[in-house]
Amino acid sequence: MSRLKKPADLKKLKKEAVARRGAKKTWLAVCTGTGCRAYGAEPLADSFEGEIARRGIADTVGVRRTGCHGFCERGPLVVIQPEDTCYLGAKPKNVPDIIDRLTTGEGNVEKLLYLDEANGERLSRLEQIPFYKHQKRILLENNVLIDPSDILDYIAVGGYSALAKVLAGMAPEDVLKEVTDANLRGRGGGGFPAGWKWETTRDAPEEPKYVIVNADEGDPGAYMDRSILEGNPHSVLEGLIIGAYTIGASQGFIYVRQEYPLARKHAERALDQAREYGLLGRNILGTDFSFDVKIHRGAGAFVSGESSALMCAIEGHVGEPRPKYIHTSEKGLWGKPSCLNNVETWANVPHIINHGAEWFGRMGTEKSKGTKIFSLVGKVKNTGLVEVPMGITLRDIIFKIGGGVPKGKKFKAVQTGGPSGGVIPESLLDLPVDFDELTKVGSMMGSGGMIVMDENTCMVDTARYYTNFLAHESCGKCVPCREGLRQTLEILNRIAAGRGKEGDLALLEELGEFMEAASLCALGQSAPFPVLSTLKYFRKEYEEHIREKRCAAGVCTELIAYVIDQEKCTACGACFRNCPVDAINKSKDKVFTIIQEKCIKCGACYTACPDKFSAVVKVPATTMQKQSAGAATLHETKA
């Protein structure tokens, strides 16, 4: 098949693509996203292919290597279509069994199905699994269905039909109206309405204009942009092309961080294939509209995800923000109007065009429409990517979809918005998730990282962690951010080390207000949020650190000590073998003890001690200082 010469040609191509997919009765969709790859998804897919070839059933059964399905916790994931049977954690050794069941039609491999712990029932179909059941998957839906390196797969599931629709008869104004009416808000952080931004760039007098995809995804703990670009790159590209048509741009960029080599590879391939079919390049679908895209790799700097910094980086300079008296949408790349949107924002566009603003508006809350993808990670049972309608409560996400906190621990807080966001305590779990609600409680939507924390997470440490990250990532151009972060970090370090003073907390708040008001870019302006929000909801924890020199979560190393419970220890020696500094000795009673002077509190022994013994325990460091005899007297102090 060669270039498509007019929008209507797409329909024909789609028919062919659908027929090609239909030629095989059964497809095994093996997730080969980055997460599942770590579990060995590639060899698994290989052995499926080998087994199918060996049995000579390749005419009816095919293997499709797809992008991320979302349920990363339980990978490698395999979904058998069209039945939608979902196998979790399959290994190459399970392959013959799986194929047997498939060819004979005799049930499923039970032990690889999801186990509903409530009633001991095995759930076979994807949509029955609670993790998927409560989601609303629009952007992620196709990740399970298509091979991201094959444009025909995307076309078969309706890809590029939005672009064809636009080019067949929508004026740029019509597209703009649709996106504005849908009230699509930016998914990359601030939630700025995309329609407004498009319009500003469109109306700016200068030429040429640029459109850019922000795939820098610097927020640690978020990986939805990666999974979209890896698993469905054409959806982003289609959105971008529609945006370029609307805005009047002829050149686009995809700024992808170099830590994501697979995303880049898939995006590159998508560009090539789109060009081949006349969906990108000169005279797209035979119309007058020409547009092309280049990929630019980011070299690893959080601040370079900020719009003006990102554009500096594309120009080949150091990616530092500049004062934005005039927005980048008017004066961006090389001083020309440039519209920058996040990966997820662009990926929403084809859906809005296909189904209309009204359809989009039916999902979500009054001011936040559509769905949002969150990366549900941290201390939660079902980690992975979840796509939910805006307005769902945090509780539903964390408990219904996420399955709550593992190992019977107590939920403490959830952090959203990355380094610019804040923590949300249990009391606010019934908060509907949307842009404005999250901001109201001192956090923000951010790019969608959602990090669940349990009783073993220390809030002072969390604030210190983010401050440290930001101090490292601040470009240092403006004083409030650079010095504010440094001072904040110093105070937090002091508190975490048990040297906090009365008045420190007031000082932290004062510094925070100052940074928020006076910093140049959003990095500095939002940098105090992790501190301020933890202070707001967990002030008591800070006070315990300062007054009692106690870290209840057992995280701040200078406030804890590891000791071995002499009665529980079975002298298995696991701790001894794992200690990196030889701080563990056999004591007189043939059990092990920790030499406190040598211990660096890395926690290796704590992890190494088998759960059934749990002989290594954390105690407040203060108890150790009082007892010169150390471990031997542990029981007295406990009692």
């Binding site: 980055t34 990670v377 201390k379 990282g449």
Partner: protein, 368 residues
Amino acid sequence: MHASNQVAQRRSTTFPLDVLIIDGDKGFTRNCVKTIESSAYTVVGANTAQAGLAVAETSHPRVVIVDWNTPGGNGLEILKSLAEREPTAVPVVVTANATVDAAVEAMKHGAFDFLAKPVDSEKLLETVRRGLDLSSLRKEAAGAEAETDASKKYDLLLQGLDVLGEAYSMGIEKKQLLDELTFLENEAKYHAESLGQIKKKERVILDIRNDLAEVDAILRKYDFQKNSLIQVLLDVQESFRWLPRHILNWISGRLNIPIREIYVIANFYEAFSLAPRGRHTIHVCTGTACHVRGASETLTRISSTLGIAAGETDKDQEFTLETVHCIGCCALAPVVQIDKQYYRDPSKKELEKIIKTLKQEKEEPCLA
């Protein structure tokens, strides 16, 4: 038969000898010797072909004056054997009955000049001087050849050593022989060493040339565009595992960007390293999701297993340990990335196994 008599005219034993005269005319020979000696050159006269060639063989004259009609073998024969045995010697022909034919014949066989008797002393000296100059040039050329072919020479020396060794074992226990042997041995070592150095230098130059060719290929990919600097540096970082100075200088010249600016960029971004990295890079994620699930313990474990701290490379340049803020694999936290492979919180045992297999591999694994 009287060779020794004639050779007795030899005054100086310094060699190589400057001039050798082979001429049956004793008077002429004597005069010439005097003239040449007066200009402080070493000179020997011989009155027969055999005597002359014998001297030539032992004292390697630089210029040989040959009478076209020497007793015991005419001039032409002498020229031929000289060309064979002493190729660097410069022959000059003299004759009492000069004919054009003889001159042409002599020149054809390598004569440098053709003088008719009687030869006036100025003319003689002038010829000798020019002959000596030419001989130096020839020696240099031969020397250069020998040097470029030092390995051949080394072989030759070894052969010589063999011969001498043999002689020695046959009972010729002269001290001189031993001295010669040591001398030759040292000579051989010296040449071997300088050969090694030359080879090393050659390799370095070749390496740099290859590096720059590779960089040029990268630059070409981006059309030598200034604004592609970061992309170029990323590619260089990927192929070389760091940004060597000579390459940055080269890029600076090629893209016409001040080197200072390049260093600013190289320092700003995490991806670049200005010191060589190990063959394998181990990234420990310390992003938020990994942090709350105990990434710091993972880091301590890896660091103690490898014996290096974060940001360091081991001394064999096998491994570089680095922390990274999120590699987009958060669901598997805490995550470790070794080269291109991701691992979920590897235990000490697993780590040791991975490290062992990586050390055994010659080339980096080529995973997707």
